[in-house]
Amino acid sequence: MSAAPRQISLDEWDDRYRELHASGLVEPAYGGPLRRHFEEGHDLRLRTLRFDNSAASLRLWNLLLTEEDRLRECRRQGRKLVGTMKDLGTVPVMAYAFPNLTAFYPDGAWWIPCVMEFSDGLLRIADSLGIDDSFCPVRAMLGAFLTEAHFPRPDLLVCSVGATCDDFSCIAQRLNGLGFPILWWEIPHRRPAESGEADFLMPGGMTLPMAQVGLVKSELARIQSAMEELAGERLAETMLAAGIRRANRVRRCLEELRRRVFMADQSPLPALELLIAEMMAIHFCSDQEQAAQALEELLVQVRARVESGQGFGSSSAARIYWVNPVSDLRVMNLLEDCGARLCGTDNMFCHALDLIPENLPPLDALAGMALMDPMVGSAAERAGRICQEMQAWRCEGLVISRIPGASHCAWEGQIIADLVHDRLDLPVVELEVPPVADAFQSSLRSRLEALVETIISRRTL
């Protein structure tokens, strides 16, 4: 069933799928050939992508691309749906602690215009609501709510505000005004504890002011009450603790997966599949158990490739750290086409990749993790973490991918670039990637190729 690692097209996946089946591939209920998402789901972008040829990656893609079906099935079964917005990794942990709640991220609709190559019409709906392209592509979410073509109307909508993205707050406010009532919760801008102020030590050494942790904890308690009402049962501390352990199963798996991918001599997993895998940390694709299993299978595949010395590209590929997810998935393929590999990422949700402390009262632990969100701290703090990881993972260059219209991207790129220049003296390239970047391919390619050439020439210094 195993084959040498190769990136293959959608067409090539047809043959590969038959080959896997002939050799006894057993798939979960959401399994099947990748092509059906293109033909039935109109996920047109798939025909332009190149995919990892492993059965584990097929499962990952199938899990991702069947989320809409899964949410509808949840609704049919009478499970309650919670739309969790903006916090990127905290509230779903609480939702999945209830046996009859399913959480999902409506924010994830930002990739629909890319995956469906604008055939979804979601951005046009957002335009018509006055949320035009001066806003982040996550505005596609508005169209998804109104059409219900991508997810059913949730039973509860939760969204963080305060020290969050301005764009997102505007979009969510518009949604609220359209008859989708939102339970807002406040997250403060993270600051260090002042002299004499009680503090709260997080794993990794960051200290948070106890007052901020207390505020977030009280906000999470409000969400907990709303979820208890929806679920029809009280969330015992033991249930939340078990929910945290389940989330940590996913996070532990991702921690090893990333370490192995970033540190291997030859990359054992393409950048595209790693990006999809990392996204599981925040939303579990609406099925926490299946997300954990799919990632564990992927980890087994990656371990096997590392142990057998197999991988993608050259072992001398330029080692790139990537900041911010791309609106157009095809750009992750382009990185490898240009002779580079992914050796580090910061996709604005690194707090969802860190283990949640299991030795603290569960709500305290969740509140602390919410405050670790890179977007609620300063850009300089985020830049500091990026520098540390770039050193640890022996990165040779940095790509900062800007999301058109996203307010949080306006200036932070320069702050991150300056710190990487000052501390590490490494080259940095900033890219702006729209949802379908075909017209910018040559420009994006030039920048990435120039970065790779620069890295290679610096090796001889």
Partner: protein, 262 residues
């Protein structure tokens, strides 16, 4: 050894034939870019060979650079314009530490190490402000030949402040300035400063001297002084600035050929 460099830029294709032993340019050619880019590149290469009376079999290697580099189907290999400009300018000015390249539709800032390797770079190819296109728009609007802009700007006594960050809005601003009686020379001088400011923004806090200026816009003398004023450092313009990308490509072609030889 004779090598060729083809710089298929967004506005023009530039080509050079270079002899590595003497470091001499045997021929240069430039032609406006068009729709049939591959054909234009082939034509300019043929012209180059004819001008230098060099048989194609004597050309050891052809390296293509620029946005259209992948369309130059007879090239042995391709290299980005960042690396090529760096090598081309370094060939002409070995002490270079920073390169500012402003072309018709993009601009670049390249920082080099003391040994001439690219340390890092910044590019602007998403906004016409900060490129030669800005100057073209202004020349058209003021009905002045592009070549005369520099001389006109030198007459300015009070350069106009052009605050728009976008060429389209800047054009509107120019109409307003003209309507308000601002002399054309002050507008032109203001535009030079606006382009220079935009380019300087790419430099951030890291600009090492000496700084060399290249690209088609470097042919406009006033631009170098505008950049110098904004950056607070002297700016040196390289010889034949249109050809540094193609020259770098030819020099890199020779290096590649030496490595490839058994």
């Amino acid at each position: 050894m004779i090598t060729a460099g083809i710089d298929a830029g967004s506005r023009a294709i530039k080509a050079v034939l270079w002899e590595s032993e003497t470091g001499r340019l045997l021929a240069t050619a430039i032609i406006d870019q068009g729709v049939a880019q591959a054909e234009l590149a082939r034509d300019i290469y043929q012209n180059l060979l004819q001008t230098a009376a060099v048989d194609p079999s004597r050309v050891a290697r052809v390296v293509a650079t620029g946005y259209g580099r992948n369309l130059v189907d007879f090239a042995t290999t391709t290299i980005t314009e960042i690396t090529c400009h760096a090598r081309g300018v370094r060939c002409l000015a070995p002490d270079v530490r920073t390169i500012i390249e402003i072309g018709g539709q993009d601009s670049k800032l390249i920082r080099l190490t003391a040994s001439g390797a690219v340390r890092d770079f910044a590019m602007n190819d998403r906004c016409a402000a900060g490129t030669g296109r800005f100057l073209e728009v202004v020349a058209n609007r003021l009905q002045i030949p592009l070549a005369d802009l520099s001389a006109l700007a030198e007459k300015s006594r009070k350069p106009a402040a052009i605050s728009s960050m976008c060429v389209v809005f800047a054009e509107t601003e120019i109409i307003g300035l003209l309507a308000g009686g601002t002399p054309p020379e002050d507008i032109v001088a203001g535009i030079h400063s606006a382009v220079a400011t935009r380019v300087a923004a790419m430099a951030g806090r890291h600009v090492d001297s000496p700084i060399y200026f290249t690209g088609g816009v470097a042919l406009i003398p006033r631009m170098a002084s505008a950049l110098s004023e904004i950056l607070g450092q002297p700016i040196r313009t390289v010889e034949r600035p249109c050809f540094t990308g193609a020259l770098g490509a030819a020099v890199l072609a020779a290096s590649q050929e030496l490595v490839a030889q058994p």
